[in-house]
């Protein structure tokens, strides 16, 4: 999974596979982090949590 594992090769397979995997993880992670930040901001701004209504 990491280049420190001995079965790691710097080849196309690993670039594509791990590249896509880490990209996906990054997107998900960034999304979650963004949500956290936005929540913090909303909390600080003192908005009414229920004004958005439901979906």
């Amino acid at each position: 999974m990491l280049p420190i594992c001995f079965e790691w090769h710097w080849d196309v397979g690993h670039f594509v596979f791990m590249g896509l995997f880490y990209t996906a993880l990054t997107i998900i992670g960034a999304g979650v982090v963004y949500t956290f930040m936005a929540t913090m901001k909303d909390l600080c701004s003192g908005k009414d949590p229920h004004e958005h209504g439901h979906h």
Partner: protein
């Protein structure tokens, strides 16, 4: 005991007593599963009837089947958020929960299915990127994270939980960027559905499973994606219909169901064209090169050619023809029937691709052997279904997953 203050706003649910009784039934199944799981982990997989011929058994069939049927989550999400089909918002929540159940259930099962559960993470740490199974493991796990992220705001929308401002904001913010997760999920899911098919297609020393293909992807890669997205929406709709029948309440408009049916119809038809073409090519070109005939592969023991007629005819062409007709989709009953057939087709395909390649010996001097799962295997399989029932029942009771419910049940 009154739990009505936890119910979604403006709806009614069955009496707590009835609900508890229902939960006990599910937990009973769960107990069977727990005992089976304990035996399989404590005593080892000798508790199953799998063996070195049937390295995969009913568990993998169930795994593959529920992952295929759970594909409703990603494809509905894709249509809702990426293709912006807003009417599907009325069913997307149910689709997400079913997807979550299917994927988490499958991972739980796999945890018991592998001989060394404590080493499960080796597949990540020491990943062999050339293995389709590695891709499946990575994608399923990552997609499960996506599903959790999609599921969390639903939980947070519970009437009581949403009173907490932090959580409410959090849920709202997650919803806002749901398209990001839906798109990522679509990508991940698309690939692992394919990789599950690829798992069999790449077995070039197993004539029954092997398929030619394009670049590194055998045709089963694409066929599995198609059959999953063809049956997934049907399955989601069926679960909603089932919930409607059990609860006696209308949950989504029939238009939503018809739309899901239409999606299934087109995808299933497309799938069948390709699947039939693939089968013909495989039987007439791929197999003879290996010295094997189609008749030999479908000639052994209980695995006769009737399986082909069932998989492609009864559970394939028939539901496709039914679903393609507007009249059928308009009828609640016929739509349900066609969708059941469609889902059976997906399950059957996964069964045929898992069990039969292993049952048919490749060495000419080996004999055909049979396999019937042990009660422990059935127990775990039943447990996953019980797990799904519990999660979905709880979700239905306490979470506002059907936006149309209040309106449809007025008066």
């Amino acid at each position: 005991m009154d739990d009505s203050k936890f119910w979604p706003q403006g709806v009614t649910r069955c009496k707590p007593g009835a609900f508890i009784a229902w939960m006990l039934v599910c937990l009973g199944l769960g107990g069977w599963a727990m005992l089976s799981a304990f035996l399989c982990i404590y005593k080892g997989l000798n508790q199953t009837n799998m063996n070195d011929f049937f390295a995969f058994g009913v568990w993998i069939v169930v795994d593959l089947a529920i992952i295929a049927l759970g594909a409703g989550a990603f494809f509905t999400g894709f249509m809702t958020y990426v293709l912006r089909r807003d009417e599907l918002k009325n069913i997307i929540n149910a689709a997400v929960i079913i997807g979550f159940i299917c994927y988490s259930g499958a991972i739980l099962m796999l945890g018991i299915d592998i001989g060394q559960p404590a080493r499960g993470w080796f597949g990540f740490w020491h990943a062999n990127v050339h293995s389709m199974l590695t891709e499946v493991m990575f994608c399923i796990t990552t997609y499960l994270i996506v599903l959790i992220v999609e599921f969390v705001p639903l939980v947070l929308e519970n009437r009581q939980i949403s009173k907490v401002p932090d959580l409410s904001f959090f849920a709202h913010n997650l919803h806002r960027i749901m398209i990001v997760f839906a798109a990522t999920g679509t990508f991940l899911s698309f690939f692992h559905q394919g990789s599950l098919g690829g798992m069999y297609g790449v077995l070039y020393a197993r004539p029954f499973a092997y398929r030619t293909g394009i670049v590194i992807w055998p045709w089963t890669f694409f066929l599995f994606i198609l059959s999953a997205i063809a049956s997934g929406p049907s399955f989601t709709t069926l679960i909603v219909m089932l919930t409607e029948k059990v609860s006696g309440r209308k949950l989504t408009s029939h238009k939503v169901k018809m739309m899901m049916g239409k999606v299934s119809a087109y995808l299933l038809s497309f799938y069948l064209v390709l699947k039939i073409a693939d089968t013909l090519y495989w039987a007439n070109v791929t197999l003879p090169k290996m010295g094997v005939t189609f008749g030999e592969l479908y000639g052994g023991g209980p695995y006769g050619t009737y399986l082909v007629w069932m998989e492609l005819g009864l559970f394939g062409v028939l539901p496709a023809l039914l679903l393609l007709q507007r009249r059928v989709r308009e009828s609640y009953g016929l739509l349900a029937l066609a969708m059941v057939l469609n889902c059976c087709g997906a399950v059957m395909n996964r069964f045929v691709m898992t069990i039969q390649p292993l049952a048919i010996p490749v060495l000419p001097f080996e004999k055909f052997v049979g396999y019937l799962p042990s009660w422990q295997e059935w127990g775990i399989s039943a447990g996953v279904i019980a797990y799904g029932l519990i999660i979905f029942s709880l979700a239905y009771r306490y979470l506002p997953i059907f936006p149309q419910e209040v309106e449809l049940n007025k008066g």
